[in-house]
């Protein structure tokens, strides 16, 4: 009897240990799906298994999650000149508004794990949320009488956060622009000199000096490869005094320098801080940023080429390892994986025609429009007290709501009204802007009406 009793206890102990062990195991590997209370949105699905990215403490409520939101999205909100910053809602005079909509925390409008009620931009509250505070808008703006509150943020007129290209005075400033601006051009990236003299560039380690194959010094035991040397010798790296060791010699945790066959983005970061930061914040690198395995097209929720399913996304996926051909990175690298209708239509679009002209020497510099021109635009970046023009490597930065593209992209070449209409035309976006916009947004019309009422003649009008 005693023996049987003992056996039961041993069995109990063993099974408890086993269950505990299993739980510990799944908590510490990437298989946490069973704990997830529901799928994540487009924005976060890649890092679903890195629970602690958002749930920084096991029992944290809204405020703890808020810190996680801010941790990743703070800069974006700052750059976008957020129209509804937290400070508007912490002011005691706005307490009644907080009761309507507690906009002090992101999760009030963007709750995760709720796919059934999630709308575009990850919004999980009914679309007419603007009415909660702006119900009297028609009194200030009689032109807005009768407009549906579901249309404020869905018709391309206003956004909750980013209105940099939509505010009234901006519309007025660009009121009568043509479809195509006569001098339209894309910005040039800052020069090698500007970049290498900017704050944080390791100029003392890599003095700018044109290098050739004979200058190459390699780690003991590593043999020089003729093809690689040739590919490297025509790159900006060779012009800037950056050779093999700069990327391949990497310090490990103990401070020992080793030769690394395939350097990671950490090597690139030594000189390309802003680019790597963008990459890690966007959809291409956000898994790496959470210490998960690299993103692959197979994990994506959008249409990808089956031939590319297992490709891993690192810097060299688009830039290759030694050639660093930016033209390849700007179009073909994207189309090797992306297979949705917009991507498929690109090579049949007027934008591609311009790109083809430029890259084949028939068009002027900076007149071609590649995938990167719009999705990874060249933007002003502040480094110390210097402003550089660098490529934004976070492809998500201007993607949603797409009016974010107006200033950073469209308006380099197109008038504002035309651009707003084009971005509001879903079919046109699908066929990659082949044809004219068939949607008409009335924002600029309303500005014109208001100007007429005010009686101030517009410049250029008779």
């Amino acid at each position: 009897m005693m023996k049987l009793f003992n056996n039961i206890w041993t069995l109990w102990l063993l099974s408890t240990l086993l269950i505990l062990g299993y739980l510990t195991y799944i908590f510490n590997v990437e298989e946490k799906g069973i704990f997830s209370p529901g799928k994540l949105t487009h924005g976060h699905h890649q890092i679903e298994m890195a629970c602690s990215s958002c749930h920084t403490e096991p029992l944290g409520g809204g405020e703890v999650i808020q810190d996680a939101c801010v941790n990743c999205h703070k800069e974006e909100l700052k750059i976008s000149d957020d129209s509804h910053p937290k400070s508007k809602f912490t002011d005691p005079r706005n307490i009644s508004r907080v009761k309507e909509l507690d906009a002090r925390v992101c999760v009030t409008c963007h709750t995760e794990h709720r796919t059934k009620i999630t709308k575009s931009m990850g919004v999980t509250i009914p679309e007419d949320f603007c009415v909660k505070c702006h119900s009297e808008i028609a009194e200030d703006r009689p032109s807005h009488k009768g407009m549906e509150f579901t249309s404020c943020a869905s018709a391309g007129c206003h956004n909750y956060h980013d209105n940099r290209a939509l505010y009234e005075d901006f519309l007025e400033k660009h009121i009568d622009e043509p479809h195509h601006l006569p001098e339209g051009k894309i910005k040039s990236v800052s020069s090698l000199e500007e970049i290498t003299t900017s704050a944080g560039y390791p100029i003392s380690k890599y003095p700018v000096k044109k290098l050739t194959g004979t200058d190459i010094e390699l780690h003991p035991g590593i043999k020089k490869d003729a093809l690689i040397t040739e590919e490297w010798s025509i790159t900006a790296h060779a012009q800037a005094g950056v050779s093999c060791n700069a990327c391949h010699k990497v310090k490990d945790d103990k401070g020992v320098v080793n030769w690394v066959e395939k350097p990671s983005h950490d090597s690139c970061k030594t000189c390309h801080k802003s680019e790597v930061k963008g990459f890690l914040t966007g959809k291409h690198g956000m898994r790496l940023n959470q210490d998960l395995s690299a993103m692959t097209p197979a994990m994506s929720r959008i249409s990808m080429k089956s031939t590319a399913h297992d490709k891993e996304l690192t810097c060299s996926s688009c830039h290759s390892s030694h050639k660093f051909d930016v033209k390849h990175a700007a179009v073909d690298a994207c189309l090797n994986c992306h297979n949705d209708q917009h991507s498929q239509s690109y090579k049949d679009s007027p934008h591609f025609l311009l790109w083809h002209k430029e890259t084949s020497g028939q068009g002027d510099k900076n007149t071609g429009v590649s995938c990167a021109t719009c999705h990874m635009p060249r933007e002003e970046k502040e480094l110390g007290d210097q402003t550089l023009i660098l490529t934004e490597h976070n492809q998500n930065m201007n993607l949603r709501p797409n009016e974010k593209m107006l200033r950073s992209v469209c308006m380099n070449c197109h008038g504002l009204g035309f651009s707003i209409n084009a971005l509001a035309d879903k079919k046109l976006i699908q066929n990659n802007f082949k044809g004219l916009p068939k949607v008409h947004n009335q924002s600029i019309d309303l500005v014109k009406q208001r100007l007429l009422k005010r009686g101030k003649p517009r410049e250029g009008s008779p």
Binding site: D81, P85, S87, T90, D91, P92, R93, N94, I95, S96, V98, K99, D140, Y167, D169, F170, R450, R454, K456
Partner: protein, 190 residues
């Protein structure tokens, strides 16, 4: 050294009041003394900015414009924005007091009075030039000592800009007139 000591004591004094405000403990300084002092600093800074920066560089010397869209226009921030950005910074650091610039005739509709005290206070200071308005109000579950101080058109720049602004409900502000009010709130024991 003397100055340092003075600064230190006033700092300690200030922080006792501030930390006292949210709690039940009574302190030596009356809320009104506190808000009056805060307002003096705000008013002085605001006048200095308007006269020495806007009035001089934008109006007189015409070296640089002042614009609501200062980033886009590469211009100076407006006095009201200067004030609001300051208030926002304070709000990030403490909830021991808060302040804002409002008006019965606001350019920015967000600066309309909202609470009863704001409405009564702005009306009072407009009708009684030179006087302030004090009261208590409960917002949410906190009671505040709320003071409303007149914001006066101290420079030509104030009235010329407001009278011409397309969103301004008034176009006849005159120099020396009350254009709006500074509202300062301290949380107190109810």
């Amino acid at each position: 050294m003397k100055f340092k000591l003075l600064a230190l004591t006033s700092f300690i004094g200030l922080s006792t009041v501030l930390s006292g405000c949210g709690e039940t403990k009574t302190t030596g300084i009356e809320p009104q003394t506190m808000t009056d002092a805060l307002f003096k600093v705000m008013e002085a800074d605001r006048t200095v900015y308007t006269k020495l920066i806007i009035g001089r560089l934008a109006k007189k010397e015409k070296v640089i414009k002042a614009s609501e869209h200062w980033k886009d226009e590469k211009a100076l921030v407006l006095p009201a924005q200067m004030f609001r950005y300051g208030a926002e910074r304070v709000a990030e650091k403490t909830s021991d007091f808060s302040y804002s610039l409002l008006s019965l005739w606001p350019v920015n509709a967000q600066n309309k009075p909202k609470t009863d005290i704001e409405k009564a206070g702005l009306k009072f200071i407009a009708e009684n030039p030179g006087q302030n308005y004090y009261g208590k109000e409960t917002l949410g579950d906190t009671t505040y000592f709320t003071a409303v101080y007149p914001d006066v058109a101290v420079a030509e720049a104030c009235i010329s800009c407001h009278n011409k602004h397309k969103d301004s409900p008034r176009t006849d502000f005159k120099l020396g007139e009350v254009m709006g009010g500074v509202v300062i709130r301290l949380p107190i024991k109810s």
